[in-house]
Amino acid sequence: MAAKALGRSGASPRLHRALGQAARHCWLSLAVYLSGLLVALLAGVPVLVGSVALAALGPWLEQIAAGDYLAFLIEIAGSAAAAATLGGSTPSEIGIAGASVGFAILFAAVSLLLHTVLYTLIVGGVLARLAGASSGSFWADCRRWFAPMFRYGLLAVPAFVTLVTAGALLVGLVPGTSEAAGLAKLIVLGLWVGLVNGALELGRADMVVRSDPAAASAFGRVARLLVSGESAMPAVLTWLGLGVVAGGFWLAGAATVWSVPATSLLSAIVAEQAVALLGAWLKVLRLAIAVELARGLAPAPTLAEQVVRQPNRDGNNSVAEPAA
């Protein structure tokens, strides 16, 4: 069906439509960006505490920021050797910094989880805007779609973990230990993650395009699409293309983060937040493309079947008055 839909009307116009929607609604990137920034700032709190403690010990922080953290770890060993030989103890700031490392990792894990929840909160509103199915303010759409998207997420998260893990294992079994083989496997795995993400994005978009909050149904439709062979091809090709774009973004983004000296605060903030904003817009673009793919999946409604189903505040279906 997707092939017919995409083939009949052509993939190119749909892609242009998606690009146009993403450009018109580029302010939606802010919502995606801010949700990511908020949780990342939370993850940064222990790092700030540890860094301020280390700043009191002298120029070590600048050296760590420049990449000399291994030498700093050696100096901690020296301080411990001095304590063992001469008495006393290592500076208390080291204990604070050490604890902050542990908390930073913990906070990072928590923030990524929290980001998943925040994303679930806003994705319905974003999709509704992109699909032209908004029923009011952005936040009203977000609230309305939160429960269905959350239920969808309960299916999507295990599916994501299972599929990505299986993909990683399969890729790992492929013979080849050279550098080129390793890089190729990494690229294949990255494209696979992009495919899985694309499929899960399609499921969310499908719910909004059909105004159908039934998460399981949307999940099932996507699964059927993927095993439909030829029908899945345009979607898969689209996701692979998006994967290549994402790969380019990743390389550029990672290079930017590493190349700007960490101690050039203003340059670092400008460069790295520009990367984050771009990443957020690319996510909006992906969602816009998902909407177009979903439109191809959804059957064209007949006059007699123009019943609008909208989730109420509890996330349950309610039947509105049929459209005239």
Partner: protein, 615 residues
């Protein structure tokens, strides 16, 4: 000899200095010379040889005996002193009891008269040093010529020597005369931690082996002769050397190049396995760095040629070793995604082994009794050369996400076991772990500390003077101290008495500080000069130098507000234990904490994009 000082610290009693150049004749080192003709039996893994040893008594004493070193007997069985001491192997390699090594002297006669000299057990002994009485004493300056015939069984490659498949590394492989120095023979048996000590002379070596083998040896290749029976004989000559080693393998790839060493052109032959061919340029870059740097600092490389050998896989036990004008190195480390270039294992090993061409191959200290005079020196030279090429923070590891300098790596090793040991100890007095952390790490860091305290230029000149003074001789630590003090014009007891002969530690810290005064405390027993920099509120700085007298030093701002204090701000004291207590600031600058926090935030943002936030 060791004494206990009043404080209970271990203090070594130094040896009396010997006259310089005691081993030279007309300026040319000529004490123990060897003319050897050998045949390699690849199937039996044996070398059978005969030759003439010419020994000139360099001492004022009459000698009624000589002592022969038979190093390969250390690998005769697992019951030898050497193998019992090396219970866990040598540099990560294990001994193969099914392929032991030994050396059997079959004949030892006075040349000319043909009188046979008595050998313990008829020459078939498991000792690594044997006494051979002479029928008549050899007078001062007298010359003794001996004809010798022997068989060496090479072990499966272990502790620098042996075979692996068709690869052979012949190190310490022939009967060698021990050294008579300062009134006595060096008769200590060979220990697992110990290396070697021999007199200088001229070596002529002729090796007969199957003609498909590619060879490399100490010295200059004189020629090659096809014997018409499937074998060839390759001839080498090495002058002013204490040893000769050679290697052979049919699969070596050979590269020869002229390398500039402070204006002198040195022929370098690089022998590598086929797998290392693509790294040949990297090997040559490291060789060039070492030859040029050390020639500039400590005297031009004196021989016409240097052979550098990379052993094949499976023969790593032969790697990382020095012989006169021949070194064995190793492979570049492996790492994915182009990261191997930033892992400088190849450069470290190559530069270190070439550093040995000066210490001890020209300045022949006793590597067994004072190992720091060559190993500590070689790693100090390596730190210097690599820092000048790659920078102090990148000389060991240079990756986009982390870096490390070689001096820092040595500090890690030093903290692991070297803090409790004097540097000047016999090699066998230390456990294997303490040997590395004391001799290599503490030794090199001590020299680095001295260099940075004295000043690079002055110290390099003084070390060059030491090399000039003791070239072709046998110095001791006492001789080193004498030359350095003469050249620098100042006593260095603060250095030698604390770090070399004793196990004192050095540590200074800021005991208290505020806007008007600072108190710096000396925590360790060692007293040495230390810089203390005060930064004032108006941006100006003042650096005071404290000689470490007393336990505390109080400094005031002299009316200016003190904003920051740094003890040893330039990190001159490479041996200082705790550097984390060396700084104080009145008010922390938050720029770096904010920048680092922001980088973490940016990484979390990228990671969440990677995960795609689950569809």
């Amino acid at each position: 000899m060791w004494l206990l000082s009043a404080t209970g610290a271990v203090v070594a009693q130094g040896q009396p200095p010997a006259p310089a150049g005691a081993g030279t004749t007309n300026g040319r080192p000529d004490v123990a010379s060897y003319r050897l003709a050998v045949t390699l039996d690849p199937a039996a893994k044996q070398v059978r040889g005969s030759g003439r040893i010419t020994y000139r008594n360099p001492s004022p004493d009459g000698l009624g005996e000589i002592w022969l070193r038979l190093y390969l007997n250390a690998f005769r069985s697992e019951d030898t002193t050497w193998l019992r001491e090396a219970e866990e192997g040598h540099r990560g390699q294990s001994f193969d009891p099914k392929n032991p090594g030994w050396i059997r002297v079959e004949e030892l006669r006075l040349a000319g008269s043909g009188v046979a000299l008595p050998l313990p057990s008829g020459g078939d002994t498991d000792a690594t040093i044997v006494r051979v009485p002479l029928p008549e004493p050899l007078g001062p300056g007298g010359t003794l010529e001996l004809d010798v015939r022997w068989t060496s069984q090479l072990p499966r490659v272990f502790a620098r020597t042996g075979f692996s498949g068709d690869f052979f590394m012949a190190g310490q492989w022939y009967p060698k005369l021990a050294v008579y120095d300062r009134g006595r023979w060096d008769t200590e048996p060979w220990h697992a931690n110990a290396e070697f000590f021999h007199d200088f002379g001229t070596y002529d070596l002729a090796i007969t082996l199957p003609k498909e083998y590619v060879t490399g040896a100490s010295g200059v290749r004189l020629g090659e002769q096809d014997n018409g029976d499937g074998t060839k004989t390759v001839s080498y000559r090495a002058e002013s050397v204490t040893d000769v080693a050679w290697t052979t393998w049919p699969d070596f790839r050979a590269f020869t190049r002229a390398v500039d060493a402070a204006g002198k052109s040195v022929e370098v032959e690089l022998l590598v396995p086929p797998s290392e061919v693509e790294d040949a340029e990297r090997h040559f870059a490291a060789i060039g760095l070492a030859l040029d740097s050390f020639s500039r600092w400590y005297g031009v490389y004196p021989w016409p040629k240097l052979t550098v050998v990379v052993p094949p896989a499976g023969a790593d036990g032969a790697g990382g070793m020095e012989y006169p004008s021949l070194v064995t190195t190793g492979h570049g480390g492996s790492a994915p995604l182009g990261l191997a270039a930033g892992l400088r294992e190849l450069e470290i090993v190559t530069v270190h082994e070439i550093a040995h061409q000066w210490f001890p191959m020209q300045v022949q200290s006793n590597e067994a009794t004072e190992p720091w005079l060559d190993e500590g020196f070689a790693d100090y030279l390596t730190i210097r050369a690599l820092e000048r090429r790659y920078g102090a923070t990148r000389s060991t590891l240079d990756w986009p996400f982390g870096r490390l300098g070689y001096a820092a790596l040595h500090r890690a090793s030093f903290f692991g076991g070297g803090t409790r040991q004097p540097i000047a100890q016999e090699s066998w007095a230390l456990s294997a772990g303490a040997y590395g952390s004391t001799v290599y790490s503490k030794g090199s860091l001590a020299l680095l500390t001295l260099e940075r305290t004295i000043g690079d230029e002055r110290f390099t000149a003084a070390m060059g003077a030491y090399a000039d003074r003791w070239r072709w001789g046998h110095p001791t630590t006492t001789g080193l101290q004498t030359v350095l003090e003469e050249n620098l014009g100042e006593p260095l007891n603060w250095f030698f008495d604390s770090f070399v002969y004793a196990n004192h530690v050095v540590d200074y810290r800021i005991a208290s500080a505020d806007a008007s005064r600072v108190v710096v405390e000396r925590r360790g027993q060692a007293r040495m000069p230390v810089d203390i920099r005060l930064t004032f509120g108006d941006g100006t700085e003042r650096t005071d130098r404290w000689d470490g007298a007393g336990e505390h030093l109080e400094l005031s701002g002299d009316g200016l507000t003190i904003a920051a204090v740094a003890v040893d701000p330039e990190g001159k004291i490479a041996l200082q234990l705790d550097r984390l207590n060396d700084n104080w600031v009145a008010r922390s600058d938050l720029t770096a904490p904010l920048a680092i926090t922001h980088r973490w935030v940016a990484l979390i943002q990228l990671l969440s994009r990677l995960l795609g936030t689950i569809g």
